[in-house]
Symmetry: C2
Subunit: 245 residues, 2 copies
Amino acid sequence: MTGQIPIHELIRAQLEQEILSGERPPGSKLPNETELAAEWRCARMTVGRALNALAEAGMVQRRKRAGTFVARRGVQETVLEIRDVATEVRAQGRDYAFRRLARRESGAGPEQMTRLGVAEGAPVLLVLGLHLADGEAHALEERWINLTAAPAAAQERFEDAPPGAWLLQHIPWTEAEHEIAALAADGQTAKRLGVPVGTALLALERRTWLSGQFVTFARFLYPADRQRFTARLRQPGNKASHKGA
Amino acid sequence: MTGQIPIHELIRAQLEQEILSGERPPGSKLPNETELAAEWRCARMTVGRALNALAEAGMVQRRKRAGTFVARRGVQETVLEIRDVATEVRAQGRDYAFRRLARRESGAGPEQMTRLGVAEGAPVLLVLGLHLADGEAHALEERWINLTAAPAAAQERFEDAPPGAWLLQHIPWTEAEHEIAALAADGQTAKRLGVPVGTALLALERRTWLSGQFVTFARFLYPADRQRFTARLRQPGNKASHKGA
DNA sequence: CCGGACAATATGTCTAGACATATTCGGCTG
DNA sequence: CAGCCGAATATGTCTAGACATATTGTCCGG
């Protein structure tokens, strides 16, 4: 009798549309749970569930005693999907390969101290490698690994498998941060990527921590025409399904 | 007696830690709701709520009849906060200003047809403007507006207020898409931004729709050293609060 | 006129049941 | 042995109530 789509979902969708259509303008107060429950002839908890979903999605704001209000449009948040370089390349139907250019273990110098946030002299591993698509340079990777946090990495050679994949498999992490920027290729970088000096590059930097301890820093450099990042953004509220494969 | 933090939250946190610590490895099966409810001496619904929260966060996967399983680490999703240029500049403690460079109404040509997804000849408005920080060029904006979706925009001059802010106030949207790329400045662009030709630029493109109908396209060009995008990423599970101001 | 105490109110959480539904497992049959 | 079918199982949803808790509006006194 209820139909196959749940009541709390119906309520949510209905209110969502009323909000998006402007029928319920930002700042306006929604009926309280008891009233809505009476309207929909369902339990208060069912209404509460719908309203909580809207609140989680940022469409409404709930305050005890005060009520539930349509939220004012806030800061935009987008979901950016950042995939493995290998995955990215293969998704384009091209052949993927990795070639290590350099590998060096050392104690952290002053530059690493600030960039990586490790103590001076802490053992770090630097791996420089090239990601190839169909045999051509696709991206240059500069990878720093904190050997204190990931001692097992010292045993790895990373000759034809990128360190990123290995780390993902072996070292857990709890926090990460990404930065995207553009820069011009310097001499050495240009040579390695096989592009003219000064070419615009897209840089993706990633820092990863395990409960506060720095694990790894990676910088990927893509020639401008070989990579872009796309982010799909939905008006807060259109939750829909997001079960990723 | 219950303490001030809710039971479903306690259960969620406990399971989350067991998963993060590796005590419950990816692929392993969690006890079913009834068992967990008995363990915690609470109602099944309370356990269900905790498990649903974990599922929403992507830490576990739930299948009827089969049970609840610890998820394998999937595609990484990051939350990228894309703010208004004005907000961005002011956040750096600098003065913000906008200067319109050009404004042109016309029918969509073939290029706009593909790039904007509108019919040929549809009325569109192009606004070209410069975002200034402390009087210096900070970003160049190229803005296309579909006048069919936003007819009121035809009345606006956009002389010293950017179209983005106006659109946000006046035209609702339901879907948006972002793309980030790097490119080299061509002659005209370089001149407008006051940088040498060939300078690496960070490009942010945004397309916005209102229930399927194209509303606006914007392309922001930032000289490489003036802008970067940062995205903080959390291991699925650490939900915490995300009430943005 | 201002500030504090108090009561009213709306949400937050929880329970103990019930029925619905998808999926898997196992056994039966051809 | 393959394929189908039914039963068992775990989750999904819902109800009608209860008590907790935060916040707000009001009233009253200084």
